[in-house]
C-alpha cells in the first residue's frame, strides 16, 4: 500500500532505473482507489480530524463579525475555533510522523485545513470580501453585456482573459452574476494549487513526510490573500503547473560521464547533451586564452567543474517519458502559458524569469521555451495592450531599477495605521521572516546531506528579479512572497526532514507538531488582519444597488474610501472616483482643516462638471480609514456630520451600513 500509493499520487515508481521503461501503449492500469483509503489500523488518525471539524463547525455559530476590532478576524473568533485548528494540526503532525504516513489520511487533513483557513470568512460574513472582488465582477458583467472589451476604460481591459473566461462560465452555467462564484473562490483556488504542489515537491524528493509537510506549510503561510476571484489566483495555479511539468518531464538528466571522466568532456564534439553554461564558459576561456599560464587555466578548471558537479549532486532525475508524452506535455505548457499572457500583467514575466533560470542553469532542457514565452508576451504587449502602454510607458520605464522606491512602496508605506493594525503589520513581517529563516536552515541541512536542490533554489530566488523592475502598486513583495512560497515551504519542511528516515526522532516530532499548529493561529491573524475594512455587510451592497437606482448614467459617484463594494455593474456607465485618491483632497491639510473646509473640498470635487453627483459613505470605508490611518481620527464622521447639515447636500438613501448624499446643483437637469 505504501509504496504503490506513493506511486499513484506522485508517480515515483517510474523513476526507478531498474523498472522497465514506460511505453505509451501497454496494459492499462486498474483503478486503485483503495490506495487512498485509510486502512483499519490507521483509522484512529482520522479521529482528530473529526474532532477538529466538529469544534470548527460549532465555533462559527458564536462569531459576531460586528464586534471586530483592528486586529481583524481573530478578535471575534472564539477559543473553540483555535482549539479546532490546534487539534487539526496536532492530528496532521501525528499522521505525518507515523512510521508509514498514509496519503489518504493526509489528504483529508489538508482538505479540511483549506476549508477551515480559507472558507471561514464566507461562512460568517454576509457577502464576499474585498472591494476588488466586486470590481472584477463588474468587468465580467461588462464582457457579458457587450461581448467585447474596451482597453480605453482601464488596464483590466488590456489583460481581459480571466474576465472573458468568467463571463463565459457565468453565461453557460446559468448564473445571474459572477459574484455567485466569488464566495468560495479562495477555497477553490487553494485546493487547485494542491495537485501541482504535490507534483512539484514529489519530483524534488521521495520522502513523503517532506512532501506533505511542505503542502501543510504552504497553506499555513499563505497570508497575502491573493486567492480571491482574480486573474492572479488562476495564473499562480498555472505557474505551478508549468514548473511542475518542466521539472518532472523536461529536467536535464545528469550525464554519468561528468562524474567519471578524468578530464572535462568534449562538449563541442557532441551536440547532446549540451554542456552547462559553466562548463562552456570554462571551455571557451581555455581555448580563447591559450596563452594564459597553464596553472591559471588549471585553477579555473579546478574551480568551475567541481562547483558545477557539486551543484548537481543529489538532483532528482526527470520522469521517463515517450516522445509522444513529451510532445503533449510541452503543448500543454505552451497552451497554459498562452492563456496566461492575456490574463495577467505580472505572472507571465515571473514564469519567464523562473523558466529562463531553469534553462540557463541547465536544469530544464527546453532551450527554446523562454524565447517562445518572451515572444508571446511581447506580441501581446505590442498588439493588444498598446493602449495601456501608450499611457503608462514612461511611468513603467521610470520605475525600472528603482529598488529603493519599490521597497518603500512595498514596505515603508504599509507600516502605518492604528496601534492594533501596526501589531498585525509587524506580525506579517515576522511571520515571513520566520518562514524564510526556516528555509535557510533547510537549505543548509539538505546541503550537508548532499542534496543541492538547485532547481528549487532557483524557484525560490528567480521571482525576486521583479522587485527592482516594478513596485506594482506597492504589492510586488507580496507577489514575490507568493511565487517563492512553494520552494520556501519545501526548504522550511526540509529544516525538519532534510533526509528520509524510517521513524523521526523526538526532536523532529516536536518540531513537526510546532510547525503544524503554531502557524495556523498566526495565519488567521496576519491573513485576516485587515478584515474590518475588507469585509462588507449586505446593507452596504444594498446601498450600492440603491445608488445605481438613484443615479442616472453618466453621474459622478464619489466614494469616501477605497473599501467600497461597488462597480459590480454598470462599470462603464458612471464616473467613479474615490475621495482619498482625489488630487484636491490629497493636497488638503486634513489635520488643520475644519469639517466645513473639508466639505467645501468635497463640493469642489463633486461640482466640477455638469452632471449629477452622489457621495457614498459606508461603514467599511470608515473602518478601513481608521485601520490603515488613511485619514486622521474621526475625520470621516465629522465630515459626514457637516455634509448632513449642509443645504448643498441632500440625503437620498440611508441604512445601517450606507448613506448616499447628492450634491444640489441648480444648473443640472433632473437634480434634487
Amino acid at each position: 500500500m505504501d509504496r504503490s500509493s506513493h506511486d499513484v499520487i506522485f508517480g515515483g515508481r517510474a523513476q526507478r532505473r531498474d523498472r522497465p521503461r514506460v511505453r505509451l501503449i501497454q496494459r492499462p492500469a486498474r483503478v486503485k482507489l483503495a490506495h487512498l483509503a485509510p486502512a483499519p489500523a490507521t483509522a484512529l488518525t482520522v479521529v482528530p480530524l473529526l474532532i477538529a471539524a466538529a469544534l470548527w463547525g460549532t465555533s462559527l455559530q458564536q462569531v459576531d463579525v460586528g464586534r471586530m476590532n483592528d486586529l481583524g478576524l481573530v478578535s471575534v473568533l472564539p477559543a473553540r475555533f483555535f482549539l479546532g485548528l490546534g487539534v487539526l494540526g496536532a492530528g496532521f503532525a501525528w499522521s505525518v510522523t507515523r512510521r508509514q504516513p498514509r496519503h489518504g489520511v493526509l489528504l483529508l487533513y489538508l482538505a479540511l485545513l483549506i476549508v477551515m483557513l480559507y472558507g471561514t470568512p464566507r461562512l460568517i460574513e454576509d457577502v464576499p470580501r474585498f472591494a476588488v472582488t466586486w470590481r472584477h465582477v463588474g468587468i465580467t458583467d461588462y464582457v457579458v453585456r457587450h461581448g467585447s472589451v474596451d482597453p480605453d476604460i482601464d488596464a483590466y481591459f488590456s489583460w481581459p482573459g480571466f474576465f472573458i473566461l468568467l463571463g463565459f462560465l457565468t453565461k453557460v452555467a446559468g448564473l445571474h452574476s459572477a459574484i455567485e462564484l466569488a464566495g468560495w473562490a479562495p477555497v477553490f483556488f487553494n485546493a487547485l494549487c494542491l495537485t501541482p504542489l504535490l507534483g512539484l515537491v514529489g519530483w524534488a524528493t521521495r520522502d513523503r513526510r517532506l512532501v506533505w509537510l511542505t503542502a501543510w506549510i504552504f497553506f499555513s503561510w499563505n497570508w497575502i490573500g491573493q486567492d480571491y476571484l482574480s486573474p492572479q489566483a488562476l495564473c499562480f495555479f498555472a505557474y505551478l503547473v508549468i514548473v511542475m511539468v518542466l521539472l518532472r518531464w523536461f529536467a536535464t538528466p545528469v550525464p554519468i560521464r561528468w562524474f567519471a571522466a578524468p578530464e572535462p568532456p568534449r562538449w563541442f564534439a557532441t551536440p547532446e547533451p549540451r554542456a552547462p553554461v559553466a562548463h562552456r564558459l570554462a571551455t571557451w576561456v581555455r581555448r580563447r586564452h591559450a596563452h594564459v599560464p597553464a596553472a591559471v587555466r588549471g585553477g579555473l578548471r579546478r574551480v568551475v567543474r567541481p562547483l558545477h558537479l557539486w551543484a548537481r549532486v543529489g538532483e532528482p532525475r526527470p520522469r521517463e517519458s515517450t516522445p509522444a508524452q513529451r510532445v503533449v506535455l510541452m503543448a500543454s505548457v505552451i497552451v497554459v502559458f498562452a492563456a496566461m499572457v492575456p490574463s495577467h500583467q505580472l505572472t507571465p514575466f515571473v514564469v519567464v524569469a523562473s523558466v529562463t533560470a531553469l534553462v540557463v542553469s541547465r536544469r530544464v532542457d527546453s532551450r527554446g521555451l523562454p524565447t517562445l514565452m518572451i515572444l508571446l508576451c511581447a506580441a501581446w504587449l505590442a498588439f493588444m495592450a498598446v493602449a495601456y502602454l501608450a499611457g503608462h510607458l514612461a511611468a513603467l520605464a521610470g520605475n525600472v531599477g528603482d529598488v529603493q522606491g519599490s521597497l518603500g512602496a512595498n514596505v515603508s508605506s504599509r507600516v502605518a495605521g492604528s496601534s492594533m493594525h501596526m501589531a498585525i503589520v509587524y506580525g506579517r513581517l515576522l511571520f515571513t521572516a520566520v518562514l524564510w529563516s526556516l528555509a535557510v536552515i533547510g537549505v543548509v541541512r539538505r546541503w550537508r546531506r548532499g542534496r543541492r536542490d538547485t532547481a528549487m533554489l532557483l524557484l525560490a530566488s528567480a521571482p525576486f528579479i521583479a522587485v527592482p523592475s516594478q513596485p506594482y502598486g506597492g504589492e510586488i513583495l507580496l507577489r514575490v512572497f507568493l511565487f517563492t512560497l512553494p520552494a520556501m515551504a519545501f526548504f522550511a519542511a526540509a529544516a525538519v526532514y532534510p533526509s528520509a528516515r524510517r521513524r523521526p526522532g523526538p526532536g523532529a516530532v516536536l518540531a513537526t507538531l510546532l510547525l503544524c499548529t503554531v502557524p495556523l493561529g498566526a495565519l488567521m491573524a496576519t491573513r485576516y488582519g485587515n478584515e474590518r475594512g475588507d469585509a462588507f455587510s449586505s446593507a452596504e451592497v444594498q446601498g450600492v444597488a440603491k445608488l445605481y437606482e438613484l443615479a442616472p448614467h453618466g453621474s459622478l459617484l464619489l466614494a469616501a474610501g477605497d473599501s467600497t463594494p461597488w462597480k459590480w455593474a454598470h462599470y462603464e456607465q458612471y464616473r467613479y472616483q474615490v475621495l482619498t485618491h482625489s488630487p484636491e483632497w490629497q493636497l488638503t491639510d486634513l489635520a488643520a482643516s475644519t469639517p466645513a473646509q473639508l466639505r467645501a473640498v468635497v463640493e469642489r470635487i463633486m461640482g466640477g462638471g455638469q452632471r449629477r453627483s452622489f457621495l457614498l459613505i459606508t461603514a467599511s470605508q470608515q473602518a478601513d480609514d481608521e485601520l490603515l490611518g488613511t485619514l486622521p481620527a474621526q475625520t470621516l464622521p465629522r465630515l459626514e456630520a457637516s455634509i448632513a447639515s449642509s443645504p448643498r447636500f441632500v440625503l437620498r438613501f440611508g441604512n445601517s451600513g450606507t448613506r448616499i448624499y447628492e450634491l444640489r446643483q441648480a444648473n443640472v437637469r433632473g437634480g434634487p
Binding site: 461581448g147 446559468g174 492563456a339
Partner: protein, 119 residues
C-alpha cells in the same frame, strides 16, 4: 473495465450532459455544477488521456490547467473575432473533448506504440 475506459466514459457523459444543458439553456438544478465541472476537467482530461502519465497528482493538475486554458483561449478568440458566444465556446469545447477521446480510442495501438518508445 480499465481505469482509462472509466475515465473516458465519465468525460464523454459529462461533456454530453454539460453541452446539452448549457447550449439549450435548460434551467435544471445541477446545471451550474455540470457545466463548471466539464469546463474545469473535461477537455484537459481528454488531453491527458492521450498519454498515460501514471501520476495522479500531476495528471489532475495538467487536466485542470489545460481545460481552463483552452476555455480561456477559445472564449477570447470568439470575443476578439467579434463573434462572442458562450454557447459556441461550449460547443467547441464539447466537440474537441469528444474528438480527442474518439481519436485516442480509434487510433491503432500498434501505430502509437511504434512512436512511443521510452526515452
Amino acid at each position: 473495465v480499465t481505469r482509462r475506459t472509466v475515465i473516458d466514459v465519465a468525460v464523454v457523459a459529462l461533456a454530453l450532459a454539460a453541452g446539452f444543458v448549457g447550449v439549450l439553456d435548460l434551467g435544471v438544478p445541477l446545471r451550474s455544477v455540470l457545466v463548471i465541472s466539464f469546463v474545469l476537467f473535461g477537455p484537459g482530461t481528454a488531453v491527458v488521456q492521450l498519454i498515460d502519465l501514471r501520476d495522479l497528482a500531476a495528471a489532475v493538475a495538467i487536466a485542470v490547467a489545460v481545460s481552463i486554458a483552452l476555455a480561456t483561449l477559445i472564449a477570447s478568440a470568439t470575443l476578439y473575432a467579434g463573434i462572442w458566444s458562450p454557447r459556441l465556446t461550449l460547443i467547441v469545447l464539447v466537440l474537441a473533448t469528444l474528438a480527442l477521446i474518439g481519436a485516442r480510442r480509434l487510433a491503432r495501438p500498434a501505430l502509437l506504440a511504434s512512436h512511443g518508445g521510452a526515452a
